[in-house]
Subunit: 256 residues, 2 copies
């Protein structure tokens, strides 16, 4: 049974989707069977892999609300070894619908239960909030990967995110731990990026990945072609960063 990794941060635009898509592809390229679940009503992870993707017949909305089993929603991505449960705007309704429902925080966990044994890693791309969708992802996850833009507002929100993760661990998912904090969009020419990196490594020793993702326009161009960076520009620094990140996670897994 694989590990479920939620990719979460309530701060908007920090690189959650870019990390979910490109890390999932890099892991699959390592020969691991990977499932990516798009849990954001924006559906950006789904469109980031649109190239070669069949038209969805069921989405994460159907899975979360129990209307369909995960096997009905899973689609193969173009990258061999990678599958995706897509999302669309219907998912936004789930935020409201789940408010008055039994075990509302456990819906995703209950739906996935035995269905994900076939995959070695399951990544869940979360929306920029700490509402019902992100809480569902945190309750079903083994670990949380936190993309952190090397900027002030993103750093400011980190303490609140960590508190939320601690509360979910105490009340809903005792096994939940931090996979790591990933510094994204790092522009090494600016003082701000260095300051943020120093701050984070000081306050969260041992929890920040050695790999950092540089700001790279290729990463933001790739989604307009529906392609992950590995298929769009495998020689770019952005691509190398996600290949390195996959290695760092796999090496750590092999030598806990």
């Amino acid at each position: 049974m694989g590990r479920i990794i939620a990719i979460a941060n309530q701060k908007g635009g920090v690189g959650k989707t870019t990390t979910a898509v490109n890390l999932a592809v890099s892991m699959a390229a390592n020969g691991k069977p990977i499932l990516l679940i798009d849990l954001d009503p924006q559906g950006n992870a789904t469109s980031g892999l649109a190239d070669g993707l069949a038209t969805p017949s069921a989405t994460s909305y159907h899975v979360l609300t129990g209307l369909k089993p995960p096997s009905d929603a899973v689609l193969p991505a173009k990258q061999p070894g990678l599958w995706i449960i897509p999302a669309n705007r219907d998912l936004a309704a789930a935020e409201v619908e789940l408010v008055n429902v039994e075990r509302r925080e456990f819906r995703l966990r209950d739906a996935l239960r035995d269905a994900v044994a076939a995959w070695e890693y399951v990544f869940v791309d979360c929306p920029p909030s700490l509402g019902m969708l992100t809480v569902n992802a945190l309750v079903c996850a083994d670990t949380v990967l936190v993309p952190l833009q090397a900027e002030y507002y993103a750093l400011e929100g980190l303490a609140h995110l960590m508190n939320t993760i601690r509360r979910v661990r105490q009340r809903l998912n005792p096994a939940l731990s931090i996979e790591g904090i990933l510094l994204t969009m790092v522009d090494s020419r600016t003082n701000l990026a260095h300051q943020v990196e120093q701050e984070v490594r000081k306050h969260f020793p041992g929890e920040v990945f050695a790999t950092t993702v540089p700001r790279s326009v290729k990463l933001s161009e790739a989604p307009s072609f529906g392609k992950p960076i590995l298929h769009y520009d495998p020689h770019s620094r952005g691509c190398q960063a996600y290949v390195d990140l996959a290695q760092e996670i796999l090496v750590r897994e092999a030598n806990p």
Copy 2:
């Protein structure tokens, strides 16, 4: 009675807060009395103006839930002519609390009703979602200013935002119109930025501001000092862009 302008886009990290803070300051510097309402539980607009701000005794949570009148929550910012209703994490509870409440979409509108006559413009900074908080802002607003990062995922979400604005206009606030679409973080060296700008001006003729905001590290440094760009680096291109934007809005207002 002033105009209420909601600054909204469900896509995360597109420059909503940076626009709310710096446009509000630029308008106040033009001698207009301005109110900025922080309606994002992240409280970034509040910390972006932290320099010289007193400790809040009441927040937008109290105003939205009717616990306190707006006059109890309003604080003067360091920029003369600018006032702010601050936010903190308590506001996140309002998303859930409002779900089962009468006239849930009208809470902010009802709370502000006569209280904002003293200000010529009221700006409302929204969170990255289309939930209860953003809907409340759209229902009380006269117009919506849409910051749009010059990137693919942001462009993809624009149609959905425009649909939501149209639905709010049809069902809840017939007077709601578009103040304009503002291109942000424009890196003129990249093709992507030019393509996005061309697309948007083609699909939304007459609705895109002539002013665009360049990517400028000074804009992302300023919040770490709790200062708007006008006080942090008045000679930067980022600052000039928000001064120009204020002018563009005021000139248009004078010559409808």
